[in-house]
Every structure is written in C-alpha cells, then in structure tokens.
Symmetry: C2
Subunit: 489 residues, 2 copies
Amino acid sequence: MSAYDELMAFNRVTAALGSVAGRTGWDQETVMPPGSSDLRAEEMAALEEVLHARKTDPRIGEWLAAAQPADEVAKASLRHIRRIYDRSVKVPSGLATAIAKHTSKGQGIWAKARAADDFASFAPTLTEMIRLKREEAAALADGGDLYDALLEDYEPGTTGAELQTLFDAMRPRLVALREKILGADAPVGLDHEFDEAGQLALSTTLAKTFGYDLNIGRIDKAVHPFSSGSGTDVRITTRTSLRDPFNCFYSTIHEVGHATYEQNIDRAYELTPLGQGVSMGVHESQSRIYENQLGRSRAFTSWLYGQMRDQFGDFGVADAETFYRIVNRVSSGFIRTEADEVHYNLHIMLRFDLERQLIAGDLEVADLEDAWNTRFEQDFGVAVDKPSNGVLQDVHWSFGLFGYFPTYSLGNVYAGNLHHALRAAVPDLDAQLATGDTSAATGWLKENLQQFGGLREPRETIAKACGFEPTEAPLLDYLDAKFADLYSL
Amino acid sequence: MSAYDELMAFNRVTAALGSVAGRTGWDQETVMPPGSSDLRAEEMAALEEVLHARKTDPRIGEWLAAAQPADEVAKASLRHIRRIYDRSVKVPSGLATAIAKHTSKGQGIWAKARAADDFASFAPTLTEMIRLKREEAAALADGGDLYDALLEDYEPGTTGAELQTLFDAMRPRLVALREKILGADAPVGLDHEFDEAGQLALSTTLAKTFGYDLNIGRIDKAVHPFSSGSGTDVRITTRTSLRDPFNCFYSTIHEVGHATYEQNIDRAYELTPLGQGVSMGVHESQSRIYENQLGRSRAFTSWLYGQMRDQFGDFGVADAETFYRIVNRVSSGFIRTEADEVHYNLHIMLRFDLERQLIAGDLEVADLEDAWNTRFEQDFGVAVDKPSNGVLQDVHWSFGLFGYFPTYSLGNVYAGNLHHALRAAVPDLDAQLATGDTSAATGWLKENLQQFGGLREPRETIAKACGFEPTEAPLLDYLDAKFADLYSL
C-alpha cells in the first residue's frame, strides 16, 4: 500500500469511530434513559480518548510527508487531514484534557446560572474557560491572531478581520431596516392550539417535501432541534409547541437543510475527509436558504397555508397573504434563536464583537454583562431585563465555542448569494414552490454545492456554486425588498 | 498507580467502549434507518478493531503478572480479565479476522437458504465456519477438548461431558412427560384479535411489575426480542402479534429477567469486570424463572387474566383457570423459540448433540440434515417437513456460535433450582403473585444472585443463591407436578 492509501485506510476507521461518537450523542439527546448520564459521560470520554489518540498518531505525520496525491480529491483529502493533524499535535495533551474537563463542567454551571438569572455565579467558570481557550489559541496561532486561530476550527480560511468588514457593511442597513419595520403596522400572531400529532405529521411531510431521505434518516422529538451524522445515516430532531407550530415546522425545515447537505454529498466520499459538510458557515447557508429564502417565501407559505388548513382545519387565519405576513412577522426580542430574518444577524454581530474582545484580552468577564446590555440597547432599542434574556442565553461560551457564532451570519450571507444565483437559474421557482415542489431548488443546491462535500474550501464552495464571489449585498437586497413589500415601507 | 489500578483503569475504558458497541448493536435492531447498513458494518468493524487491540494489548499481560489483588473483588476481577486476555492472545489475529469476516457473510447466506428452504446452499458456508471454529478451538484448547474450549466463551467452568451427563438424566423423563401430555385432552387456544397499542401498554405494565427500572432502561419494538446493555443503561425490545399476545407478554417478561439481572448488579461493579451477568446459563436462569416459574404460574396468570380483561375486554376465555391452561398449553412444534416448557429442552439437547459431533469431527455437514431429522422424529414423534422447520431454523451456527445452545437448557435447570429455593424462602409467594406483586421473588433473586454480577463463577453463583448444589431434579419435579396437575395425568 502507498503512504496515501495507508493514511486513507487509517483515517477511514477514525471516521467510522467518529460517526459512532456522533450517534452516541444523538442517542443521548433523544432516546437515552434519564438515569444513564454518568455511564454515558464515561462512554463519551472513552471514545474521545480513542479518537484523540488516532488523530495525533505520529504515523499520520509520516504518511502525510510521504503521500503523493494523484488527483484533486486526494489533494483535498490530504488538506483536511493535515489541518486536523497539525492542530491536534499543536495543542499539548494536558491542555486538551483540561479544556475537555472544564467544558463538561461548564455547561452545568451555565445552566444553573441561567435558571437563577445570576451571571456572577457563571463568571469564574467563563473566566477560566477564556484563559484555557486563549492558551489553546496561542498554541495554534504560531504568533498570529488568537481569535483567527479559534475561528479556523469552524470556518477554515476566514479571519476575524474579514468578518468584521463584512459585518460592518451589514449592521447599519439592518438597524435601519428594523427601525423602519417597527414603525409600521405589525400583523397579529396566531391564536390557536395545534395538536402535537398534527404538527409531527406535517413536519414529516415538510421534511420529505424538502428532499430529506428517510431511508437514510429519521426524525425524532428532542428538546433542541439538531441534525446529526453524515452520508447514509443522518438524523434530525424537531420539537413541538402547542400554540406555535412554526417553531416545529421551521425547525424541521432548517434541520433538513443541514441534513440533506450531508445526505447529498457524493456517496464515494463517505467516511473520507470529504464526506462531511465543509464548514459551519456553508452548512448554515443550506439550513438558512431552506428555512428562509425558500420556506418563508410568499410562494411556499401559500402552499403551507393549505397544508395547515388540511391538517388543523380553520385556525383563525383568513387567507394565504395574511398567513405569509404572520410567518414573517418582525418583532424585537431578546432571544437569538427566536429572532426573525431582520434581527438575527444583529444578535450575532453583538456576540462576535464581544467574544473577539474577550479572546483578544480587551474585555474582562467582569465587564461582559454591562457590555452586552449596552450594545443590545444600542442595536435593538430595548433594555435587557435579565441575564437569561441577555448574556446567559446561549450555551456556546460555556462549551468553549469561541469563533462559532459568526458562522451563523456568514451562513445567512452565503444563503443570500446562493438564493440570488438560484433565482437566475430557476426563473419559475415561485410557481413551483407554490405547489410545494422544492425539487428544482434543492436539486440545484445538490448539483452545484452539496454533492462536493469537502472537495473545495468553504468560500470557494459558495463562489463555484454561485458563479460569483459572495458579498453581503444579495442578502441585504433580499431583506430590504421582502420587508419593504411586506410592511409597505 | 499500582499495576492493578492501571489495569483496572485501562479495562474500564475498554468496558465503556464495549458498552458503546453494544448500544450501536441495539440501534441497528431498533431505530437505524433501513439504508444505513453498509455504513453501520464499517462502524462495527472499526469498534471491533479498537476493542480487539485493547483486549490483546501486551501491557495487560504485564499488569496481570504484577497485580496484587487486595480482596475477593480484585481476585474475581483479575480472573475475568485473565480469562479474556488469555483467550484473545491465543487466537492468531489472522484467524480472528477470518472468523469475523465469515460470520458477517454467513448470516446473510443462512437467511437466504432458510427463506428458500435449501440447506445445500448453506452447507459450504457452514462447513467453512466449522473448519474455522475447530481451528479456533484448537488454538484455545491446549490439547484439550475442542467443544469445551468453545463452551468456555459462554459458560466458563462447564464441560461438554458434564452437560452430557445432565442432559442424559433429563431426556428420558422429558420424552415420557411429553408423551403422557400429548395423550391427554389439550385446551383450545385463543381466538381473538388483540390491538397492538393494548399489547404494548400491558407489556410495559408487566415489565414494571417484574421490577424493570425504566429510569435506566427503555422498551422498543424490534423483530426479535432482546436485552442489551449493563448497569445503568439496559434496554429491552419486544414484539407484537395480532392473535397471539402471549408472544409479546412472555417475550417481555423473559427479557426483563435478563435486563433486571444487569440492572441489579451492585452499582460499584459498573464498567468493571464484575459488572455483567456472569454467564449465559446464569443469565438464562433469570429470564426463565421470570417467564416460566413466576410468569406462567397459576397464581400470576390469575392476575394477568384480570389485566387482559381490563385491557382488551372479553376475549373469549371464560375464567382464570382456563386462561392458565391456555398459557401453558403443550404442543409438539418444529420451532425451538416457540416451544413450551416441556419441549424446549428437547430442542436444545438435539442441537447440543449435533454441534458437539460437528466440532469433534464425528459428523459431516453433508450428513447434518439427515441427522437432525432422524433425531427430531425420535424425540418429538413428528417428521420435519422442511429445512426452515428443521436444521435451518436457528441463526446461531451461521454466526459461529457453537457451545451457546446448551446454556439455554442449563439456564432452565438453574431456574428450577432457584425456584425450589425461592419457594422455601417465600412460603406465601403464590398469594403475592396472585395480586401481581413479584417483589418478594425478584427481591430474593436480586439479594441472593443478581447483585453479585461476576463476583463468583457461574455454578457457584447458583449454588450460593440456592444453598445447595444445582441438579436437574428440581426442574423435572416441577414440570412433572405442574403438568400432571394441568393435564390430570
């Protein structure tokens, strides 16, 4: 066997074990008995021990040095393996263990602090987490920017400075748009109860409508919606809410965006370094275009309105146009995960700026709550009333996920670009969506983006699919047009 | 750290990985999407590769040589680890791989052969399997008996000769009993349809009634009922059959016997070598005493009759005594898994004799079907009509499980002994069972047997619980008395 073949065979077993670890996480969130969590923690730690040993196996360095890539696929595969290997060996194992331990502790402390609305009780844990992550970033950065080093884990090839430029261009237009909208008349919301069985049935219909393949997937209920797995076993979860069926339906469509991306990657890449979505940002572009540009379009909601009438009978909404307005209602809220298309990215920019300062050492945890509240009032025009509606709302920092937040907005920007290209490629898209037919849209995404998995770098993946370099403009133009129309601005 | 502590820490991680592998198997049988089987096969192979490497890690030999056991628990732990290590290193890795590959191929070929009722198409695969298992047995046996070497995997400390003596003592009495019963009037069976939801609801009630802890367990539907896992995550499956709810109920009770054994092991033993049921025979003693001596008793069925009336209304059975007769109906059938208490062990003895001859080289695969059919007619008085009702009915040999079958009957014998001791310890057991209260019985089993896990050797585990050395007599006496009464013999 050549060095390349040996490396790929070794990596394939690692990938298979990683797939098992992912599914063990799925099990934990969906079907695990409540009293099994201590045992599960030991199982996850054992899997991590094995995976870490394999990822830092010195033979990888030797194989990488000797491997001769024969083609584009081999080159891309080596690029992925080299990136992971270089990063794994740079972080001292004692530090990696300390971070893992602190992470598993951190989430519990954060959850308690959030429940008690008491930031001070989480602050020491967060301070220590930032200290550890700065140490990790320093080990990774080779003298470069610390935040960029962390960002590389989620969005390879993108820097904090690039994101800053992007977000600086977006923020004034979004703030202006939200102000105009909130000055206009808002539609009322739903006022009806929607039975759980009906929500789950329609949720499954929606998943299939967006191309989710249940032969290699499944849908379960969980506290948080998520997608898990790659290739031929990709599972999603959803949740229901008696008075808010959109929570269920748009969670499902969002996760189906993630899940079909994984399902649609070229089958030949399964268990290879190319067999997964290429970055968090590109992943989010898929979930977002499914959820928003397609799922919340006037055309698609007109079909969904009929589906909901079929499922639930008269639910107090007179016509499809009113329904469309309710689906896209804009309202100022504290919580990121409940935000509409206009507010969402403002939530992210707030977090991005704060976490970048925390990692740079320019902001102390002691000043974080004030900084959050000041910035929130500035961008959202409302004062945060309690930490659970502010600085304590997201789990990410308690897990040490610094550099993750901006990929959400990058995904939205990428979705805006893909949507622009898709509209040009499929001129009668609305006519199709109005009949519940997403196949041209999802087919275009599969053909031009999803199938390639990790073959290209993230930004290149988007640019190749679109036929142009991505910018913030298509997303902002889309939002301006959509909400000017909806709110008669 | 002492050598003992290092060994135990290493073994704990291996046990946690083994637990993950077990649950991955559970996932495959219950919730895995249908199109995921190729990916799953690679995942299982990757886990096996890791587990095999850990089980044969040469450091185990060094730790074993240096370890100083401090107490009974440590001695028993070392005994288990040494047994597994010695066996793992004796089998050449090429042979282990060949067996693993042939096993994964064998099941598919067997399933096709069974569906086609064509033994000849399975014969070459079985011949090769026997060749491989004989080679494995020779590597393990150190010049000793080949069959004993294989049996050691399922029932450590028991030999084929001992089982032969046991079965020789049982067979004439069982054959005589079945002849007497089949000459008497048989009760008619059920003639009613029982909805699935009702079966599953009552199945869950029964599981709880027998002490199954759903806080550290769960019940799912699967094609085959099984129990999976140890300690704080033990899951069972059951199945339903529209016209035969006993299939569901007694499968559940049987699996609950296995599962509560695992759940009731001293929690301090979790993820240690003592944290699992000690042998297949002892395991089966638990499933069988729950299912038969308790679950099919006149007292318990009188309570179950009421439960079924509550769940399903009038289902055409006039009274509890008739119900008891139907539950315990004896009939001559081809299929082991559907056999009643009288016939079951005759099925096992047939397999035991044939597989022992196959492994000894005294019977060729070419002659196996004839040998099966001849023996079946001898013991059951009926001619086998087709291979799927005969030599092709069980999956075991296609998996290379030689030495597994006799543990079923050994379990029945052990259950007979435990039942004898239990009746002496809990004189008013029937009064309790008649109210659906199994707590004294299951509590006695937990206290005297289940909690000890792997602390004692299998036979010693039974003897300590009973207070006497196990023999075949209590089971046969129980069967004679029960069916003499039921059939007025």
